[in-house]
Amino acid sequence: MSKRKAKKTHMTVGACISQVQTILRERFCHQMLPEKPVGMESQYKHLLELLKRTAVHGESNSVLIVGPRGSGKTMLLKCVLRELLEVTEVKKNVLQVHLHGLLQTDDRIALKEITRQLNLENVVGDKVFGSFAENLAFLLEALKKGDRSNSRPVFFILDEFDLFAHHKNQTLLYNLLDVSQSAQAPIAVIGLTCRLDVLELLEKRVKSRFSHRQIQLLSSLSFGKYLDNVISQLGLPQDFPDTKFSEEWNDSIKRLCEDKAVMAVLQKQYNSSKDFRSLHMLLILTLSQVSVSNPSIKPADLLEASRVCGADSKANMLHGLSILELCLIIAMKHLNDIYDGEPFNFQMVYNEFKKFLQRKSHSIYNFDKPVIMKAFEHLQQLELIRSMEGSTANIQKDYQLMKLMLDHNQVMECLQKYPQCPTDVKQWAMSAFG
């Protein structure tokens, strides 16, 4: 008996790693719901109470969940719904309609989607409705049960709520909130948004029908809690098949989080953003380096991941420019310094470049103007410089006003890293006056 058990719990390192990857990837990449939302207990309770009242007592309600991106609005809602649906009575009774501002871009599509999600396509059939309100009323009517007095509660979940406010006349919002105000079918309208000023977007008649209940998700996580969260995010669950491996893994994670360099990286991450989504990005990059030959997370892995995450993408692009293009950028930088950020045109850049060539360059060949123009256009294609004018029809290419989309430091930093940068170009860039 005991022998069999021992056999069962022992797996090869390869299998263990693969298992670890599967579990952790589901956490980081698939937004798997945690056991309990971290750091938002009061909001959780509030929302649960609210939805319970709709589900059980048939009270209509409307609420907005507001929080920055990645703060866990959807996660909170899903956790609440998960708990709510554990009650069988509720599960049997409640209907859910999920709408997303990115998908349902106008009210016609939204209404179609509502019909579909409520499984009322055959009921509606080929009926023609006079107005939107009539259509919605019909849909809600159809939900009423056999005994008439009582209709099933419906949760309307509107993700990216602010986008719905841009629909024509805000008809959908008006009607939904109107139903939630008047004593019709019990519905709960739950909006999720990242815009704090979302109420300003609503028309007066829509605003007055909204309950003004807002749940704010402003993370007040301390760094200690944040660190605990990192450990629990990386940790393996109790039911991991190979207990020995999982214990070792969890220990190594604890040790990892005590490392000085790792702490510094996490502190930096915490200071820039407390949300878990950016943390997940860091952790998935770290996790991707775990393999059979490297069976636990080393501090170096995390440092490498943070380097990849925090790389300045414009500097990366500058690194790949040809020397001619780099020279043009330097010329633009000088123009910016001289004229205090005023826009410039190709002719000026060309002139500046020519001056450099005449005065001190030995390493750079004198190119034809069209060749330089091509380099200039390439920079424009990469959006490192941007045209100031809206319409370009009337102006010659040489004289279009442009703006450099890089700042002084980015250019200088790039020069340091640029492979085999000629010294005279470097000196030209350093010199104060072109």
Binding site: T22, S288, M348
Partner: protein, 444 residues
């Protein structure tokens, strides 16, 4: 094999083949593969890969997906005029051609997601699906909801899907106003000079030794590397110019080992190629023909060098007048064109006060009256202001040598700007033996 890509989820043999197909990109391929994980594991919902043109972004991705036989759809956003096409292509490559009719005509994003979900429920495959969107910068020009939706497609369709965006433009330029799901950023660095050499030597000509070809590439890079690092363009140039390079060998004038003489032979040609083929002023075919015909024709010139337009006599003067009116300040007209300008001293007359040059700032607009006044003073014979002169002005506008400002309805005082370059106007004035530089304030 240096830097072999390794991953437990895939067969050794396949990985070996992959790394053979991806020279100098094993770091990137390895990282990408590590991110993708085993076929059935989740990958990050959206990955944004950026890097310069021809740094192997699509190549690496396609080779990986193709050789490892993963389900994927790849769409170039240039091809997708309408959203419908984009959705159709994705459905077609992920689920097969039978499923395309499920999409309604001119589908919205909502339809796409609905159909996708429906198809997902039917299929049992659990492998990560990949949607590769090439030239993703064009997604920004489509409807505003497309880019954010693709970034969080995994959440929207509730399937194991990863969207990979490829672009030359950095992510900062993509981010919408209210933010969106942030993709994982991966950078593909440019090839270094040695790497370029290594890759380009792979297409060496079978009838010549690889050392010779490598020497040729070295010369080519010497000329072009400071201007262009685009592998594709360099390879094109190499293919076009190789035969010129080996011409002396064919004729038995030079030995293969005498690289220096070969270099002396080819270098001027490469410099000429930079002025012509590289700028697309002549097509590749024309370039080859020109090279063949060159022995008789002498010097080879680009399109811009012999770009001249045949114009009527007065039109030429009108254009010259327009150029002068555009680039000279109006108050200097008196100095240039009034014959008896009173008692202004000669050195005062020629003195310049401003430092800024109009040739840096560009042409200024001028009214029709001024154009005609300048025209009468530069043209040598007396011209009556007839309809033919005015119609020549409007035909210059049609030819886009002049551009009219404001609306067409300003009949009494239309304003124009001259839209030709100094080289062009100098060529024109030479044909009527008029020394324009003498009349330009910037060149006093």
């Amino acid at each position: 094999m240096p830097g072999q890509i390794q991953h437990p989820g895939y067969e050794e043999e396949k990985l070996l083949r992959v790394s053979k197909l991806l020279p100098c990109r094993d770091v990137q391929a390895g990282r990408l593969l590590a991110l993708m994980g085993e076929p059935e594991q989740y990958s990050y919902p959206s990955i944004f890969i950026y890097g310069h043109r021809a740094t192997g972004k699509s190549h690496v991705l396609h080779t990986l997906l193709n050789e490892l036989e993963l389900p994927y759809a790849t769409v170039s956003c240039v091809e997708c005029l309408s959203l419908g096409l984009l959705f159709q292509k994705i459905i077609l490559s992920l689920f097969g051609s039978d499923c395309v009719p499920l999409l309604p005509r001119s589908p919205s994003l909502s339809d796409f997601v609905r159909v996708y979900k429906q198809l997902c429920v039917q299929s049992t495959a659990k492998q990560t699906k990949y949607i590769v969107l090439d030239r993703a910068d064009l997604l920004r020009d489509m409807e505003a909801n497309i880019l954010p939706a693709f970034l969080r497609l995994q959440e929207l369709v509730e399937d194991n899907v990863t969207v990979v965006l490829l672009s030359e433009i950095v992510w900062e330029k993509f981010r919408p106003n209210t933010g969106c799901f942030e993709p994982l950023l991966l950078h593909f660095p440019d090839y270094s000079k040695d790497e370029l050499q290594q890759i380009m030597c792979e297409d060496s000509h079978p009838s010549y030794t690889s050392e010779l070809y490598s020497a040729f590439i070295n010369i080519l890079l010497g000329v072009f590397y400071s201007v262009c690092r685009d592998l594709r363009e360099l390879r094109h140039l190499a293919a076009l110019n190789f035969f010129k390079f080996i011409e002396p060998l064919e004729k038995d004038e030079v030995k293969e080992s005498d690289i220096h003489r070969l270099w002396r032979n080819i270098e001027p040609h490469l410099k000429k190629a930079m002025q012509t083929v590289y700028l697309r002023e002549v097509s590749s075919v024309q370039w080859e023909q020109q090279q063949m015909a060159e022995k008789e024709a002498g010097a080879l010139r680009g399109l811009s060098a012999h770009a001249h337009v045949e114009l009527p006599y007065y039109s030429k003067f009108l254009l010259i007048a327009a150029y002068l009116a555009s680039y000279n300040p109006a108050r200097t007209d008196k100095r240039f064109f009034v014959k008896h300008h009173g008692k202004i001293k000669k050195n005062n007359f020629l003195k310049k006060h401003e430092k800024t040059s109009n040739h840096l700032l560009g042409p200024k607009p001028f009214p029709l009256d001024r154009l005609l006044a300048v025209f009468y003073s530069v043209v040598d014979s007396r011209v009556a202001p007839t309809a033919s002169v005015f119609s020549q002005i409007s035909s210059l506008v049609t030819l886009q040598l002049l551009s009219q400002l404001g609306h067409d309805d300003q009949l009494d005082a239309p304003k124009y700007k001259c839209a030709v370059s100094l080289d062009f106007i100098q060529a024109i004035s030479r044909t009527v033996s008029f020394d324009i530089v003498k009349y330009l304030y910037d060149f006093l």
